[in-house]
């Protein structure tokens, strides 16, 4: 019996293969499967790469890292716990040569370096790296190839660092403990530990790293020891997570969240197509049942037919996914060098199973409608009701499940869902009011427009579904494109307008004082200068950060490192208090902080919660008394955590400054002197900043463009599906109109008017929805002041009108291939 049904399903699958409803279903399934399989393959490849990277690039069994040097007693305790220890010191500095400068990460190593793995160096650029077993000699410096190019240096040249001369003696090819810096693009330089001491950098600017050889048991003891003695220190070990693991998981979650949009569009398209599938399968099932078959025959044939379709689609999808995966791996090699393409069959199987299950849920109403109906009902096509609602509910459940699984930034997810719901309600209201009022007001006018409005109003339910489907696609597409455009334009103009052209991200107190005097002398404008100290969040309400939340988020990722803690008496001009109360001047209660709103939401914090920070060498508790948000227009330097200045009297920690200065073109060479005097000054020019920004934007553009392509493809499929769903009705309508003595051109004109009305409602809804979403999301998520560009919006409106009308008319041209004779033949 089963094999007979399978044969029958195969037969019908072949018969329906070319029909538009099957073709559209294949497109939807194909696009989503391609997206999800590629995403999961890329994700697994990156995870595997990171894992391998962790094993081979840690350069030790465990690495303990912190801003301060271990005290002699701590040093002794760590030596006792582990087998071997190698110390490295790191500082961000600026190297100068012949008036040129280049920022670099300077690493100082001793004679025992490296602890594990191979240090590779060479004496010529094209030479292969040779294993090197000793640190650079005193007065020598080893540079990576990029610095040599950037400063026009050759082996044997001398360069200047903090007024000391260093001989460039080797090219740095590979450091076995590069992992900790794996995701930065900083240029690298290496000197001897003795020279580092001689350079006499302020100790608080140096980062200390202890490479340790230890057994897994010793590593566990070390972790316990670190938790008790050095809570603010960072520890990495071979059994733990890669430093980039959390970052990647967040990226993956963001992509996953974005895929909800694709699933949502697929649900709309499948929902439209379900009407056609239901009708066809019901008709077939009714015939089978009238010939004595049970209703399970119809369900089985329908299921097998659907399953065969998917099964035959898989080889094509898998092949395309493999190609896309290969392209992505190649692209990612810029970030993750040596990453290899590899196919992960198990992961592909899991992804396919999940997506197939989701598709089955979307398609389930067809099978349910066959199960719950009798022959009479099937022929009469009165199958709505239970299955109709089940289809909506099941789709909603699936979409909610996908949302919950991928939700990363709770606030953003909530806002996106709210914006989508708002747009749906808005479009229903616009459809209803436009068609009702339009029909009412044009009742006394003659012509095709009043007639079209009358017909659309009469078919409000089916028309609204079509408008909603197309409208949501337009909204999602518009928002994605607008975000891409505005994020680039607003951010770059904002940076250029308010921040001067040199940003100082870390200057010590003496450095800042010097800069201020130097700026005055040179007539350079200091735009902003704000003090801060480094603080590492270790506990929230006496619960350690790692135990408090294991869900990756923007805020948590940042709080895993020391953050900048700012102090100020008044609310900064570029901030606004939105909850709680800002401290009074000279407040005696110094243990209070104001936290940025998004951080509050991300970490689930509330006014009154207690945060424990590790500052300097002590733990300090603060209560959250206020929450602030960024207010544009008064400079971009803002801080997530701020405290009253009275707290300074109770905290022993180095003070730093963030500042921005404005130099004109003749003043640029002055920077070289400044860097020679303060090589550890962290300063970045507008050009470097915009280069960095442009690189980031180029990456975002690539990702969003790829994603937009998916949305455009799916939007096209949704429009085609909605036309396909109404095709038989439209054909009949046109035939009837022709039977009243009208020509095909009248039907075409009516069709154009209907699509223009549909497109107008769609575009208005999409633009209003986008505007609302912009207002809701821009400020809170991207700190952008949303100022809609009306010319752009009107141009977009016109584009949507043309595209939707054009595609609608083109796709529904088969509806016009109707005739009165077809009505006669339809017996």
């Amino acid at each position: 019996m089963l094999s007979n049904n399978l044969k029958l399903a195969w037969h019908f699958y072949k018969q329906e293969y070319q029909s538009s409803h099957q073709r559209l279903l294949r497109w939807i399934q194909g696009i989503l499967l391609l997206f999800i399989i590629t995403l999961s393959q890329s994700s697994i490849s990156i995870q595997a790469y990171l894992d391998h990277n962790l094993q081979s690039l840690l350069g030790a069994d465990a690495v303990l890292s912190q801003k301060a040097e271990l005290t002699p007693s701590q040093h002794t305790e760590v030596i006792e716990i582990t087998d071997d220890m190698v110390i490295t010191q790191h500082i961000k500095t600026t190297l100068t040569h012949n008036g040129q400068w280049q920022q670099a990460k300077l690493k100082a190593v001793g004679e025992h370096y490296p602890l594990q793995g191979e240090l590779l160096t060479s004496t010529a650029l094209k030479e292969k790296g040779m294993p090197t077993f000793a640190a650079p000699k005193n007065g020598h410096i080893w540079l990576d190839a990029r610095i040599l190019a950037s400063l026009s240096l050759n082996i044997g040249d001398h360069l200047q660092l903090a007024n000391q001369q260093f001989l460039v003696s080797r090219i740095l090819q590979h450091e076995p403990d590069r992992l900790m810096e794996g995701h930065t693009v900083d240029m690298r330089a290496m000197i001897n530990l003795q020279d580092m001491k001689a350079l006499n950098f302020s100790p608080d600017l140096i980062h200390y790293r202890y490479l340790l050889a230890a057994t897994p048991a010793q590593v566990n003891n070390l972790i316990k020891w670190q938790e008790n003695n050095l809570p603010a220190a960072e520890i990495r070990h071979k059994n733990g997570n890669h430093p980039l693991a959390l970052f990647w998981q967040r990226t993956e979650n963001f992509m996953g969240l974005a895929s909800i949009i694709l699933f949502f569009m697929a649900a709309i398209a499948v929902n439209q197509l379900t009407q056609v599938h239901m009708k066809k399968d019901q008709y077939f099932s009714a015939i089978c049942m009238s010939l004595g078959a049970s209703n399970s025959t119809g369900i089985q044939v329908s299921f097998f037919k659907w399953f065969i379709g998917l099964l035959l689609l898989l080889p094509v999808v898998v092949l395309l996914s493999a190609c896309s995966h290969w392209l992505i791996v190649n692209w990612l090699q810029e970030t993750f060098a040596d990453m290899q393409w590899q196919w992960h069959a198990k992961s592909a199987l899991v992804s396919i199973s999940a997506v197939v299950t989701i598709f089955a849920v979307f398609h389930a109403p067809v099978w349910l409608s066959l199960r719950n109906n009798s022959v009479a009902n099937l022929f009469a096509d009165k199958s709505k009701g239970l299955s109709h609602w089940l289809s909506k509910i099941s789709s909603l459940i699936v979409l909610s499940a996908v949302t919950i699984t991928y939700s990363d930034n709770a606030l953003l997810t909530m806002m996106m869902v709210a914006a989508t719901l708002f747009t749906i309600i808005l479009m229903i209201l616009i459809s209803w009011s436009t068609l009702t009022l339009g029909e009412k007001f044009t009742q006394n006018f003659s012509g095709l427009v009043p007639f079209s409005l009358f017909m659309m109003k009469q078919r409000l339910v089916s028309k609204s579904t079509q408008i909603l489907g197309i409208g949501l696609c337009a909204f999602l597409l518009l928002f994605t494109l607008m975000l891409l455009k505005d994020l680039g334009a607003t951010m770059s103009s904002y940076q250029r307008q308010h921040d001067g052209n040199v940003m100082i991200s870390q200057a010590t107190k003496p450095q800042m004082q010097f800069i201020e005097n130097w700026a005055k002398e040179q007539k350079i404008a200091v735009r902003q200068a704000k003090p801060y100290m480094y603080a590492k969040l270790i506990e929230i309400n006496q619960q350690s950060l790692s135990k408090f939340s294991d869900k990756p988020s923007d805020s948590l990722a940042t709080f895993s490192r020391a953050i900048r803690l700012h102090w100020t008496e008044q609310v900064p001009q570029n901030n606004k208090v939105i909850d709680g109360q800002w401290w009074q001047p000279n407040s005696e209660n110094w243990q209070q902080v104001s936290i940025e709103e998004e951080v509050m939401t991300d970490l689930g914090l509330a006014i009154g919660d207690w945060l424990t920070f590790f500052i300097g060498q002590e733990e300090i508790k603060f209560q959250i008394t206020a929450s602030h948000v960024f207010k544009p227009g008064a400079g971009s330097i803002t801080f997530w955590v701020q405290m009253p200045p009275t707290a300074l009297a109770h905290i022993q920690a180095p003070h730093y400054n963030m500042a921005s200065i404005e130099l004109d073109s003749q003043q640029w060479p002055l920077l070289a002197n400044l860097w020679q005097k303060f090589p550890s000054l962290r300063m970045i020019s507008l050009k470097e900043m915009t280069d960095l920004f442009d690189r980031m934007l180029a990456m975002i553009t690539k990702v969003i463009s790829g994603f937009s392509l998916m949305i455009i493809l799916l939007a096209g499929v949704v429009i085609l599906a909605s036309i396909n769903a109404l095709e038989s009705k439209e054909k009949k309508k046109n035939s009837i109109i022709m039977s009243f003595g009208f020509t095909r051109s009248t039907c075409l004109k009516l069709n154009i008017i209907e699509w223009l009305v549909t497109a107008s409602i769609t575009a208005t809804g999409a633009i209003l929805g986008t505007y609302f979403t912009g207002l809701l999301i821009y400020q809170s998520q991207f700190s952008l002041n949303y100022q809609p560009d009306f010319v752009w919006l009107i141009a977009t409106l016109a584009t949507i009108l043309c595209l939707v009308t054009g595609l609608g008319i083109y796709a529904s041209r088969s509806n016009l291939k109707s005739s009165v004779k077809q009505l006669m033949a339809d017996t």
Binding site: S446, F451, F454, Q458, S739, G741, F742, V820, M824, A825
Partner: protein, 235 residues
């Protein structure tokens, strides 16, 4: 003579993969406004195709068709504004109420009194109490009455009906026939119907048989027994 349609030496044929099939040859026919015509014949003889040719919706393979409107000779294409159709399957739009279905052709023509006129016509076909009902809530006979009202509401000069009672029981068929003939007569519209039903065909003033590619008149007005014409009280 009032307005009429004249077909002269009309032939219709079509090509299949390997043969040409001729439906009819050298056919002559005159349809005058205000009179009724029935075309019978076996299935596949080309009755529906003939209906399409008479109404000007299809072109013949050879021959000529003219439409004489107030003594003006026109092509059959110009007949379009003066024709209405009634189908075996009723073909009402399911989303519209009976009233809106009837008002449809008037609205398309921009008639401001569309709804009022539609109401009058629904009353004429005996459905004044069903104006707000959708087709799915009406019986077959009622649906066909709505279809008749819809075909006649814009007062076409020629009504073409394809098996108008083919889907109805005997009682409903008789009722529909009464309404159809009477309404066309009262409206001074020609009624051209294609049917297998001898009973229905017998009520037409002119009866033709289309068989073996020929159209032969079997009954003319002079043959009619006027006693057989059933008069309906109203339309």
């Amino acid at each position: 003579m009032s307005n009429y349609i004249e077909l002269k030496k009309i032939s219709q044929s079509f090509n299949t993969n390997d043969a040409t099939i001729t439906l009819f040859n050298d056919l002559n026919l005159v349809i005058s406004q205000g009179e009724s015509y029935a075309i019978t014949g076996p299935s596949g003889a080309g009755k529906s195709s003939l209906l399409m040719l008479i109404s000007g919706l299809e072109e013949p393979t050879s021959g000529q068709g003219i439409y004489v409107d107030v003594e003006q000779k026109k092509t059959l294409k110009e007949l379009r504004n003066d024709i209405g159709f009634i189908f075996q399957q009723f073909h009402l739009l399911p989303e519209l109420t009976a009233l809106n279905n009837v008002a449809l052709p008037l609205k398309l023509r921009g008639d401001k009194n569309a709804m009022a006129k539609a109401k009058v016509w629904l009353d004429k076909v005996g459905l004044a109490h069903r104006v707000d009902h959708k087709p799915s809530e009406l019986s077959g006979g009622e649906q066909q009455r709505v279809a008749i009202a819809r075909a006649l509401v814009f007062e076409p000069k020629f009504i073409f009906a394809d098996e108008p009672t083919g889907n109805l029981d005997q009682k409903s068929a008789t009722e529909i026939a009464n309404i159809l003939f009477t309404c066309c007569q009262e409206n001074n519209a020609a009624l051209v119907l294609v049917t297998h039903s001898e009973t229905l065909a017998a009520r037409a003033q002119h009866k033709y048989l289309l068989a073996d590619r020929q159209l032969n008149q079997t009954v003319s007005p002079s043959d009619l027994d006027t006693n057989n014409i059933v008069q309906v009280a109203s339309c």
